[in-house]
């Protein structure tokens, strides 16, 4: 019953919110309360749906096939995350949406996006999967193009990629339906097992390529950063947290249930070259390239958008290792990433709400004015960089061990380069916004309201809580591994009991607490200290005052500009993309020119057609 409600509530919410916003311009408050209640209901239903894992409910009949929806372990995991994050986004938007704000369709599209995503993870056969997938990509387009004028063109960019993805998936479904005669996952899996090498590659490409486009893997990632960074900040948090991870859900489902392990291993041309290596190299590039591009960004949201591309690489590599450590790492990384990226983007939104800008070159010193946003961002970046005691560390530790012990040294190195790049760019983020001298114009900035602070507090608790006690989530990840057919991970409340070395986060955190206490005692030994203003600063004997812009924000990593600045600001993929668009334009120009000829050319065409027809017929016999 709950799974059915899980689809009906968002649908009802979408329709009511759409009607509501179409006809009543004022009354944002009523809209907000309705949205809040709607999403709280969805969260409750998602939690209660745990009891119905495994049951199937039947949807409408289509092409002689009854659509099947139901909950499995992994889809309940995703359902919780989707509903949780959208609830937090709505709570945040209660504070963030100003009264005069013109976002009438904001909540409607949020409900629709939820419907799309929940539909995708609930669908148990490939036709339902495709229909919900198509619906999801359209709602993402409409959600993205809210906000500024630039958002409209970047959302168009997303739409083109999404349509290409769904067309490839469409071809995939047609091919599998024709081969296996039905749409159900189990039947398709059995026929796929019987495929020879060539058709297996075709099936893998047709199924996995759209998932990689949606989860912005390396060569197909161009759409994500501009689209997510120009959307309205609350939506950027929501999208970069969960929207691209539905692509990874697809990868997990297709890799493990539809294609199955053996297919992945069998698909190898040489000793080294097989599907697993291909996906892992894509993952490696996705980890490294975006993190370097993020270093040179001057806008906070664009920097975070590039990171969501980068972190997707970790999840992809984790899933592709197909070892118990790796898959657990990948799945857990989806959860941990979701928590701290939303935390970071909410804090950036809090800053944008007060200062009106996310340009890293013009901000600074806001720690004195928005301490809570600072602490939230601090927790977030420690998590994103994967430093203990936050949860980001545990998932990265799992992925590292699986890569090192799995015999992929250079992948482990790529993962580590990604982490270091993240540390550098997140430090630039927190330094340029919160540290350094406070510019004069932000003197009267205040902390954000209750509704915007509540999600930040909750997420801080979650990031630290699941960091110190990773077992809370890892326990369910182990259950997912069982359902996916991967050997589950030996998990305790405090960490991992794996055979080749153990991780106990309780010990690490408690020792960290103890050493912090010792450091605090050393600090007290040293005599009293006095907090001074920002102008009481060493400036080689110069008297500092507000006329001196005494900040180092612009071009923070200048050394890297020299070494590889150019290579990442106009990368090969961007040039490739522009080349493709130019090719299409030239082809359409050629096609148009056919129809601009005079009458004589048209007559020539007709005669030519007749002769051609006869020749073909003669040849055809």
């Amino acid at each position: 019953m709950n799974t059915f409600l899980l689809l009906i509530f968002p649908l009802a919410g979408f329709l009511i919110a759409a009607l509501f916003s179409a006809f009543s311009k004022k009354g944002l408050v009523v809209g907000k309360t309705f949205a809040f209640l709607g999403f709280s209901a969805i969260v409750l239903v998602a939690i209660m749906a745990k009891s119905e894992i495994g049951s199937i409910i039947y949807g409408p009949m289509m092409f002689g096939w009854q659509l099947q929806f139901g909950l499995t372990a992994i889809s309940w995991y995703f359902a919780l995350m989707i509903s949780g994050i959208s609830w937090l986004t709505v709570v945040f938007s209660l504070g963030a949406l100003r009264e005069g704000g013109t976002y009438p369709m904001y909540y409607a599209w949020l409900f629709a996006k939820n419907l799309g995503m929940l539909g995708v993870i609930l669908s148990q056969d490939i036709l339902a999967f495709f229909i919900m997938w198509e619906f999801m990509s359209w709602t993402t387009y409409f959600l993205l193009q809210q906000g500024t004028k630039k958002a409209r063109s970047t959302a168009m960019g997303y739409l083109i990629y999404a349509i290409i993805a769904s067309m490839i998936l469409f071809a995939g479904i047609i091919f599998l339906h024709q081969a296996s005669g039905s749409f159900g996952f189990s039947e398709i899996a059995s026929t796929v097992a019987g495929f020879d090498m060539r058709t297996l590659i075709l099936a893998a490409v047709l199924l996995l390529a759209p998932m990689l486009i949606e989860s912005a893997a390396y060569p197909l990632h161009r759409w994500m950063a501009p689209a997510y960074s120009s959307a309205e900040t609350g939506i950027t948090a929501f999208l970069s947290a969960i929207s691209t991870r539905i692509g990874l859900y697809g990868v997990a489902i297709f890799l493990f249930t539809v294609l199955g392990f053996t297919a992945m291993k069998k698909l190898s041309a040489g000793h080294y070259f097989n599907l697993q290596v291909v996906i892992m190299t894509i993952g490696a590039f996705t980890m490294v390239v975006p993190t370097f591009t993020a270093l040179f960004q001057h806008d906070a949201k664009k920097l975070m958008a590039w990171h969501s591309v980068g972190q997707g690489g970790y999840m992809l590599v984790g899933l592709a290792t197909a070892t118990s450590l790796g898959v657990a790492g990948g799945l857990f990384h989806i959860f941990t990433y979701l928590t701290y990226v939303t935390l970071i983007l909410f804090c950036i939104a809090a800053v944008e709400y007060r200062t009106g800008t996310t340009n890293l070159n013009s901000l600074g010193g806001l720690i004195k004015k928005q301490p809570i946003a600072y602490v939230g961002l601090l927790f977030g970046i420690i998590g994103l960089a994967g430093i203990p005691p936050m949860n980001g560390f545990v998932s990265k530790w799992l992925i590292y061990r699986s890569l090192i012990l799995g015999g992929h040294p250079f992948l482990a190195l790529a993962a580590f380069i990604g982490t270091l790049g993240t540390i550098l760019s997140v430090y630039k983020l927190i330094h340029n916004i919160f540290l350094g001298q406070l510019p004069e114009r932000y003197n009267d900035v205040k902390e954000v309201g209750f509704f915007m602070q509540l999600p930040i507090w909750i997420l801080m608790l979650v990031v630290l809580g699941t960091g110190v006690f990773p077992g809370l989530i890892l326990g369910w990840v182990a259950k997912i591994q069982v359902s996916l057919g991967v050997e589950p991970l030996a998990v305790t409340l405090s960490g991992v009991q794996a055979s080749a070395g153990q991780l106990n986060m309780n010990v690490v955190s408690s020792v960290f607490g103890a050493t912090m206490l010792v450091a605090f005692i050393i600090f007290l030994i040293g005599g009293r200290r006095r907090i001074v203003g920002q102008y009481n600063n060493y400036a080689a004997g110069h008297f500092l005052d507000k006329t001196v812009k005494y900040n180092f924000n612009y071009n923070f990593y200048s050394a890297y500009e020299h070494i590889f600045g150019k290579r990442f600001l106009n990368p090969p993929v961007k040039r490739g993309e522009e080349g493709l668009v130019a090719l299409v334009e030239r082809a359409s120009d050629f096609a148009r020119r056919i129809y601009t000829g005079g009458l004589n050319t048209y007559l020539a065409y007709s005669l030519g057609a007749v002769i051609l027809m006869v020749v073909i017929l003669k040849g055809a016999i």
Binding site: R528, R530, V532, N536, Y538, H542, F543, L544
Partner: protein, 194 residues
């Protein structure tokens, strides 16, 4: 709490004995005395044997070297640097220019005696003292610190009005962003333990 010289606790005595072995110099090289420092620091005289090391920023320095005449404009910067240093801090006046004006005794622009404006720990006579004199001066400073007698810096907190008046007489008011009387109360400097 800093008691009068006689009643310091045994623990204080031991620590100041250790503390004296490390002194960091801020090279505020005005005037012509700075050229005497490289020879004192390098191979022949090697000031580092006494734990004296050149440091760049006032926050970390203990010794402020005034190595020559101070024009009024430079005095403003010196006062700012002095107030940015962490006490206990010691000002060392190099050469006769800081003692009583030296050869610029009748100039309208240079100050004549340094200790009117910032408390000076000791002077080194000479129209630029040679390295031997510098080392002799510093070793004596180290002994004084060891005995806990080198507390000229408290004088700045205790008699701040005297110094402030002289400074304003010379270059008017400046805002060094540190409130000395308030610091004195906050750090309880100069209050004799009841």
């Amino acid at each position: 709490m800093e008691k009068t010289i006689t009643q310091r606790s045994a623990w204080d005595k031991v620590l100041t004995k250790l503390q004296k072995r490390s002194l960091w110099m801020l090279h505020y090289c005005t005037g012509c005395g700075a050229v005497e420092l490289p020879p004192t620091m390098t191979a022949r005289f090697d000031m580092e044997r006494f734990g004296i090391m050149p440091m760049v920023t006032p926050r970390q320095a203990d010794i402020l070297l005034i190595t020559g005449y101070l024009s009024v404009k430079t005095l403003k910067r010196v006062v700012l640097i002095y107030e940015q240093m962490q006490s206990p801090k010691y000002v060392v006046g190099f050469g006769s220019c800081t003692i009583n004006g030296g050869m610029y005794w009748n100039s309208y622009a240079t100050i004549k005696s340094l200790d009117q404006y910032i408390p000076v720990e000791f002077y080194l006579a000479g129209c630029m003292p040679r390295p031997e004199a510098i080392i002799e001066g510093f070793t004596e400073l180290i002994d004084r610190i060891g005995e806990g007698k080198a507390n000229s810096w408290e004088d700045y907190y205790k008699n701040y009005e005297f110094y402030r008046k002289n400074q304003e007489h010379v270059f008017g008011t400046i805002d060094t962003r540190t409130d000395i009387p308030d610091d004195a109360k906050y750090f309880k400097i100069g209050e004799v333990e009841k």
